[in-house]
Amino acid sequence: MGIVAYARKHAAFLAFSAVAMCAPLFIGNKYYLSILAFTATRLMVALGLNLLMGQAGQVSLGHAAFVAIGAYGSAVMTTRWSVNPWLAMLVAALLAAGVAAILGVPTLKLRGHYLAMATLGFGEIVFILLVQLKGLTLGTDGISGIPSLTIGSLDFGRPRAYHWLAWGVALLMLRMSLNLVDSRVGRSLRALDRAEIAALSLGVNTSFRKVQVFVVSAVFASVAGSFYVHYIHYISPDSFSVTFSVVLVTTVVLGGLGNVWGAVWGSIFMLFLPEYLKRFNQDYTNLVFGLMLIVVMIFLPGGLVGLRHVPARLRRRFTPPDALPAEDT
């Protein structure tokens, strides 16, 4: 494929990447830079959860716990045992993958939404452990002094350098997700969401595929957690309550289920909206999120990405049926 053809095929991805990577050149304000940095890590989690919900039709209510595995894994290993941060990130991700497999194998074998409850329980347990295992996690005091990521003399502690690193990884994950959806794996995932029995009879190993995508989403979440702690240098259990898992689900639902770009728009919106709501009262943020889940599901099941279909739908509604072109009816 020529460069032009490639550019045309992936125009949206290339344009978005360019905007994301160039943003810090035009933004001097450290506060906005940090929100953008958090958007990158949120995007990593949202991409995995989006694959799980949109492609496999399953929902996880424990993704905060997978982020916690990455965050605490990196924090504990680098501060207590002086492990290399990159190695710590890898080990934490492997741990997250293992845990996801343990949760996914029994629950995804069954029809229905057992994974949701199992992950909810898992989230509660991890939260309890973070508070109770004081010897390892320092309990509610949290762990501070987590080092920045470095490669040789390159220090990713500085906001711009971190931005490029985190967004680079997030964009890589976005590319992977887009490819996955387009691939054989993606097609078989969609097939099992729409007609599981049919997919099964055509030779798709449905439960294995579902476990696979769940493990991938857990790894994305764990990596996001690792990047997050190396940026804010401090971690405490508060950030990983079940409420955060619901906020993550809200990110994906609001952006748009079943479309990888939904994760992008959801992440951007969900990180800038609370900044706006903060001016009123922070306590209302969760109320808004909860109501948003309901309202989006009822009135805009395609999320923000689905908004582009709204004009066409309205036009159709207000056009007499006989005036419509044949292929639209």
């Binding site: 409850m117 508070v131 109770q132 289920l257």
Partner: protein, 296 residues
């Protein structure tokens, strides 16, 4: 562990187990009529307790506070069904579940805005001087919880077996299409299920508050345990749900009793989760499973 200590643990296990049983019944009612697992079930329990606390603070006698809480939360269940579930009755299960997750977060946050973050108390229904049975001292509240749970379970069974409305609900859970063809209004059955389910769970919430207090955030964990009880007894089986709840409560209490190290009560909450995973792995139809769980 001596015998009277053992009895002590059993009685405290039965107390919390009864609440799990009522929560599990709530799950079952909604699941049987709609196939939805209602992630806001625990919030109904929490609301029941908190509403009763407010009623009692305003001077209502406890029985009145109990009834008002149950009725109010029942109405909340009905409103929830009308606003959020009704528009999605024919949508996919994922959409329905996401809506219940949203409702759970919204209800919890509203409760925090109304009642604050503290755990609030409610006096026991009839004093707190313990009654000694077989050497174990048992709080009167335990007997209240057990008795009222029994009354609710029996009343529910009578409703389902003896009344026309109850039979209509059962018909819908067996075969909604056939039930509709017979002139049963499916949407009214769903409405009734949500109202009843919320009310029963709220009753559990009022009863447990004198034992363990109530706060806006308590719902999630109670909901999870209620669901674990459902799975233990076989999802969709009301008798299994009650039995599952009691077994789970007793297992939890014994875990605290047998684990000698301090802080073991913190790990008690892990028991439900462990049971949930083990049952899903080894026997997904539950201990008394009647409905078959489809494997794919």
């Amino acid at each position: 562990m001596s015998f009277d200590q053992f009895l002590q643990y059993i009685s405290s296990g039965i107390t919390s187990g009864s609440i799990y049983a009522l929560t599990a019944l709530g799950f079952t009612l909604i699941y049987n009529s709609t196939d939805i697992i209602n992630f806001a079930q625990g919030e109904f329990v929490m609301l029941g307790g908190l509403v009763a606390i407010s009623m009692h603070e305003w001077g209502a006698p406890l029985p009145l506070a109990f009834l008002v809480a149950v009725a109010l939360v029942g109405i909340v269940g009905v409103i929830f069904e009308q606003l959020a579930i009704r528009p999605l009755l024919s949508a996919g299960v994922l959409a329905q579940i996401i809506v219940t997750i949203g409702a759970s977060l919204a209800i919890r946050t509203v409760a925090m805005l109304i009642w604050g973050r503290e755990s609030l108390p409610l006096p026991p229904f009839s004093g707190d001087s313990p009654i000694v049975i077989l050497g174990a001292s048992i709080l009167p509240q335990t007997l209240w919880v057990l008795g009222l749970t029994l009354v609710i379970v029996v009343a529910l069974q009578l409703f389902y077996r003896r009344t026309l409305t109850g039979k209509a609900v059962r018909a819908c859970s067996v075969n909604p299409t056939a039930a509709r063809l017979m002139g049963i209004s499916y949407s009214r059955v769903v409405l009734l299920s949500f109202g009843l389910s919320a009310a029963i769970s709220a009753a559990g919430g009022v009863m447990i508050t004198p034992v363990s207090f109530m706060s806006y955030s308590a719902g999630a964990l109670i909901g999870l345990k209620g669901f674990a009880a459902c799975i233990l007894g076989g999802l969709g089986n009301p008798v299994g749900a009650v039995a599952g709840g009691l077994i789970l409560g007793i297992l939890e209490a014994l875990t605290v009793g047998f684990l000698p190290f301090s802080g073991s009560s913190g790990y008690k909450d892990g028991v439900a989760f462990l049971i949930l995973l083990v049952i899903l792995f080894a026997r997904p139809q539950g201990l008394f499973g009647r409905r078959t769980v489809e494997k794919v």
